[in-house]
C-alpha cells in the first residue's frame, strides 16, 4: 500500500487567554500510521484533537487536512451511557448512519452495521442492551459505531483508560486489526505499554517550550 499524507501540521500554537496550551507543534500523519499522542493531563491532547477535527482554529500555525469530517471516525473520551440505556449494541451502532433520510435502513446499511459489529467482535452480543454491557464491550460498541461508515481515519481518545487488562487488549486488538487493514489511527493514551506495543509514531506533548517534532 502506498502511503500518502492525511494530515500535516506546521508550527501549531494554541493559547486560551494568554495561556499557551502547546506551541511549535509540527507533525505529519500518513495513511496507515498508528499515531500515538501522549502527555500528562492538561498537556493539550484533547485540544489537539479538536484542532485535527477542525472544531478549533489554532492561534497560529497551519494545519492541512487531506480528508473530510465524514471520513473520520471519532470516539470521544467520555460517553455517558447509563445502566438503564435502552438501546441494543446494534441499534446504538445504527445511530451513526446519517446518509439516508428514511427511518428504516437500506440493505447496504444493514450490511455496514453487520460488518462493523463483526470487526468489533460483537456479533454474538449485538442484541444485548448497551447499558448492561461491560466496559470493554461498551468500548467495542463505540468502536463499531465509529467505523460503521468505513472511515479512513479513526481517532480514539483514551479508549482503554478505565478497562482491566484483558478488556484493554481486546479493544486494542480490534483497533490494531483495523489499522492493518488500512485504517489510519490516532490514539491518545497515558499507557506506555500500549504505546510501545502498537504505536508506529509518537507525539509527546507536555513540555510547552520544546515539543517533539516528527
Amino acid at each position: 500500500m502506498s502511503t500518502k499524507v492525511l494530515i500535516e501540521a506546521q508550527n501549531l500554537l494554541v493559547q486560551f487567554n494568554q495561556q499557551v496550551i502547546f506551541r511549535d507543534l509540527s507533525f505529519t500523519i500518513d495513511t496507515g500510521d498508528f499515531f500515538c499522542i501522549v502527555g500528562p493531563n492538561g498537556s493539550g491532547k484533547t485540544t489537539l484533537l479538536r484542532v485535527i477535527l477542525d472544531e478549533l482554529t489554532p492561534t497560529a500555525g497551519k494545519i492541512q487536512r487531506y480528508l473530510t469530517n465524514d471520513q473520520i471516525g471519532y470516539i470521544p473520551q467520555f460517553r455517558n451511557i447509563e445502566t438503564d440505556f435502552p438501546l441494543s449494541a446494534q441499534a446504538f451502532v445504527e445511530l451513526k448512519l446519517q446518509q439516508r433520510f428514511w427511518p428504516w435502513l437500506s440493505y447496504g446499511e444493514r450490511q455496514q452495521v453487520h460488518q462493523a459489529l463483526g470487526a468489533a467482535h460483537l456479533i454474538a452480543k449485538k442484541n444485548l442492551r448497551l447499558g448492561q454491557m461491560s466496559g470493554g464491550e461498551k468500548q467495542r460498541a463505540y468502536l463499531a459505531q465509529a467505523i460503521v461508515n468505513q472511515p479512513q481515519l479513526l481517532i480514539l481518545d483514551e479508549p482503554t483508560a478505565s478497562l482491566d487488562v484483558a478488556a484493554k487488549y481486546e479493544v486494542m486488538n480490534v483497533v490494531q486489526s483495523l489499522n492493518r487493514q488500512g485504517t489510519t489511527v490516532i490514539f491518545i493514551t497515558h499507557d506506555p505499554q500500549l504505546l510501545e506495543k502498537y504505536g508506529t509514531k509518537t507525539l509527546q506533548l507536555g513540555d510547552k517550550d520544546k515539543n517533539a517534532t516528527i
Partner: protein
C-alpha cells in the same frame, strides 16, 4: 357509546394524541426531559387562562405560551440543564400568572379544573380538526429530522462530531414538544401531561431495544390508556383522567416488574 358526537370527538383526539405522545415521549425520556415538559405545562396553564381572558380558546393561549417557552429554553445550553431553583421560579411565576388571568377573565371555576385536570369529553369538532392538523404537521417534522434527532438524543456525545445542525435539531424538537404538551393537556390536563408524554415511553424502555420498538410499544401503551380510560369513564361516569393515569401507571409497573423478573431468572 360512539353514537354521541362528543364521544366520537374524544375518541379521535385520544387516538391522534396517543400516537403523537408515543413518538415524542421516546425522545423526551431519552434526554430526560420529563420535568421540562411539566414546567412547560405549568406555563401552558397560564397561557390557557390568558387565552380565556383574551377571549380565545384555552388551547390557543396554551400553544402560544408553550411555544414561547420552548424558544426560550432553546437558548439555554442543552448540556447544562436548568437548575432546580430556576425551574421552581419559572413554575411558580407562571402558575401565579395563570391564577391572575383566570380571576380577571371572570371565568367560572370549572374552567380552571378543566385546564388543570383535562376535559376530553368537552372537546369540540373544531378542536378535533385543529389538534389533528397540528399532530400531523408535528409527525411530519419528526419524520424529516428522524435520523439526526435519533442520533442526537440517544448519543449526544457521539453525535457532536457526527451531525451538523445539532443546535437547530434540539430547538425544533423543543417546539414539537411544547405543541404536544398543549395538546396532551386537552386530554389529561396541564398537571398530568406526564401520564401520556412520559409514562408510556418510560414503560417502553423495559421492552424495546431499538428506537422503532420503543416508539411502537410507547404508542401501544398510550392508546391502551386513552381508549380504555375513555370507555371506563363513559360507563362509570368517573373522570377519564383518573382512568388514564391509573392505567398508564399499572402498565409501567407491569413493564418494570417483568424486566426485574427476567433479570432474576
Amino acid at each position: 357509546m360512539l353514537q354521541y358526537e362528543f364521544m366520537q370527538n374524544a375518541a379521535i383526539v385520544a387516538t391522534v394524541i396517543s400516537i403523537l405522545c408515543g413518538v415524542i415521549g421516546v425522545f423526551i425520556t431519552a434526554r430526560h426531559l420529563s420535568f421540562l415538559t411539566h414546567t412547560m405545562s405549568e406555563i401552558g396553564f397560564s397561557g390557557a387562562s390568558f387565552g380565556l381572558w383574551m377571549g380565545w380558546t384555552p388551547l390557543n393561549g396554551m400553544l402560544l405560551f408553550t411555544v414561547l417557552s420552548a424558544l426560550a429554553a432553546g437558548t439555554v445550553n442543552k448540556n447544562r440543564p436548568l437548575k432546580s431553583t430556576a425551574i421552581s421560579l419559572i413554575s411558580a411565576f407562571f402558575m401565579g400568572l395563570g391564577v391572575l388571568f383566570l380571576s380577571i377573565s371572570q371565568a367560572s371555576s370549572s374552567y380552571a379544573t378543566n385546564i388543570l385536570f383535562g376535559s376530553i369529553v368537552g372537546i369540540s369538532r373544531a378542536d378535533v380538526v385543529q389538534i389533528s392538523v397540528i399532530a400531523v404537521l408535528e409527525l411530519t417534522v419528526i419524520l424529516l429530522i428522524y435520523r439526526p434527532l435519533k442520533f442526537d438524543f440517544f448519543d449526544p456525545l457521539g453525535a457532536q462530531s457526527g451531525i451538523r445542525f445539532s443546535g437547530s435539531i434540539n430547538l425544533v424538537f423543543l417546539i414539537m414538544m411544547s405543541l404536544s404538551v398543549s395538546m396532551v393537556s386537552q386530554i389529561v390536563g396541564a398537571l398530568l401531561v406526564f401520564a401520556l408524554l412520559t409514562l408510556p415511553a418510560a414503560a417502553a424502555q423495559f421492552w424495546g431495544k431499538t428506537v422503532h420498538a420503543l416508539i411502537g410499544w410507547s404508542i401501544l401503551f398510550a392508546l391502551l390508556g386513552t381508549w380504555l380510560g375513555l370507555a371506563l369513564g363513559y360507563w362509570t361516569n368517573l373522570p377519564v383522567t383518573f382512568f388514564i393515569t391509573t392505567i398508564e401507571s399499572i402498565i409501567y409497573l407491569i413493564a418494570w416488574g417483568s424486566s426485574k423478573l427476567k433479570q432474576a431468572l
